[in-house]
Symmetry: C2
Subunit: 338 residues, 2 copies
Amino acid sequence: MKRTTLKDIAKALNTTIATVSRALHDNPEISDEMKNRVREVAKLYDYKPNSTALSLKFQKSYTFGVIFFTLNQYFTTQILSGLLQEATKNGYKLIVAESNYDPKKELELIQEFYELNVDGILILPSRKLNTKRFELENIIRDDVPFVIIDRTIYFEKKKIPFITSDDYVGTREGISHLIKKGYKRFAQIKGLDSSSISNIRYQAFLETLTRHKLEIDHRKIISCQEFTKEEGEELANQLMSLEDKPDVIFCISDMVAVGVLHALRKKGYRVPEDVAVLGFSNSNICEVCTPQLSTIHQPGVEMGKKSIKLILSNIKQKKDISDVKIVMKTKLIEREST
Amino acid sequence: MKRTTLKDIAKALNTTIATVSRALHDNPEISDEMKNRVREVAKLYDYKPNSTALSLKFQKSYTFGVIFFTLNQYFTTQILSGLLQEATKNGYKLIVAESNYDPKKELELIQEFYELNVDGILILPSRKLNTKRFELENIIRDDVPFVIIDRTIYFEKKKIPFITSDDYVGTREGISHLIKKGYKRFAQIKGLDSSSISNIRYQAFLETLTRHKLEIDHRKIISCQEFTKEEGEELANQLMSLEDKPDVIFCISDMVAVGVLHALRKKGYRVPEDVAVLGFSNSNICEVCTPQLSTIHQPGVEMGKKSIKLILSNIKQKKDISDVKIVMKTKLIEREST
DNA sequence: ACATCTTACGTAAACGTTTACAGTTAATAA
DNA sequence: TTATTAACTGTAAACGTTTACGTAAGATGT
């Protein structure tokens, strides 16, 4: 029942593990006859090298650690799929962990990954991790590649590569398209101020309106916390109770946008005639809701793949990736809600 | 930059690694003075035991391998969440892999997991793996616990524990509730005949109708393959083109049900007045679509947790789990579509 | 005939741990 | 005084690999 080892094969052939190891690696110092005998026995015994021993020997695990703030979103699972595809394709495994938005847990998980001798760490940090940026910076080791996905965090001393979607351009395209359609009174449901992503979209929102000489009404720009449908409903009601009601509600996430749609329907507003609603991410719910939700597509799977490629370029080709900032193209997806 | 090892500490204190190891394990044979000195240096050097070395030594990795047929469904990611929570809580890691419904890949991944010395394997098998049951049976090793999630596969010689949701009772509750409401002409969109899950729901569907003396119209029972929205639309159209149109469409998944809803709306049928639609799983899309989808809740997170508990009961308490068949309660969730 | 070079294999150290067993010293008992 | 014991620490093997180095035998060159 025990796994067969080099020792077993050596014993069977009355030779040493060194010879067996070399034979299996097709080392030129080993005679063809011996190689054949070794291979035969190896096959017979179904020999498989012990990867733990190899890890110890070579000080690498062929494993990446990945931390998600949640796996409960379509976008994050798309990233996971991309990561898995590209990792397994290259002979790497993924140890997956979920931080549930807890920055302390995120730091702990990073520590744990180091103790596991992972060959690299990828993280989708929660917004809150930004507040622990200093701790994060101090914890990150220089000898294990580190990649930040879906967020941009800048540090004092260290340079850490990140990979995001081009939310700026995505937002600009979405908003300017709506402007062209004649919408004028733009509202935004953004995230908290501590979120880099939210801020980028906010900036793009503001600047696009400004460039088109549209007035910006700051009472129409509000923040949500949990990104839930319920919150979307609540905030939509809040927005529609303004005297000057918006004719566009640009949301931080698709789920929030769905909440907005529901609230609008309940109040009798027509979408997209009275109010246009624009989501973000292009998750699977966009085609499910009524009206179907226009949104800005983030290429989750591709981001995952690219992240692995990035980290592998550091490991395999020894490329310095500390300066890399990958920004992946987004795409406006027009459906019924705009 | 290198990790500090026992050797480093030993050298610093001019002693041996054995003493250091013992001191760190609070071995009574070591003097308190030595223990203190060792601990001090260990702290100073930020010593962390090398888990790879421990894995090699103890022949365990504190790692489980998990195989998903897809991570692109709400239900499967819920299971993943549950698995992760319970695993990390117990100091275990998860290596995650996606088979993308490819039975060959599933078998390969299992092999790979064995080579990685995982302490256990959990799998959500694709329906197609059933056809490779023989290969699967032969590949499974007796010394590494194996758990099947969300599917029931019976083998010739081996006994493998599985954990599923009680789809039989769930279906029965759903259908009989609809019967009570006065619906009479039941249609089912089921999966392929090779799917154990689909068959259980099919049986429950038939038997519930029979018990209530309702006629079963086999033209109203059709199969889908990909479980997509588009397929749901197509099959709904097919069902509604029968002379004797159904007044209930019971679907194999929520996404299929959403497709059905869309098709019905396009054709002008009212839901739930003309046709009731019932999904399965209670995924996040149920509250998103219009009308909101009634469904049968499967406790994904709990199933994940329970799976880890099960496998740990084998590992830690040496319980024989080969006979275990866990069937978790489902729950009818009534929303607007019924 | 002798040095030299190949060829083919063995020895042993290393990766970082744990732990059975073997010392060493000092204290205690006879 | 000497044997016994207790308290502490060191030695070395083991987990399964890889690989620098050593070595033996035969082949080649002069």
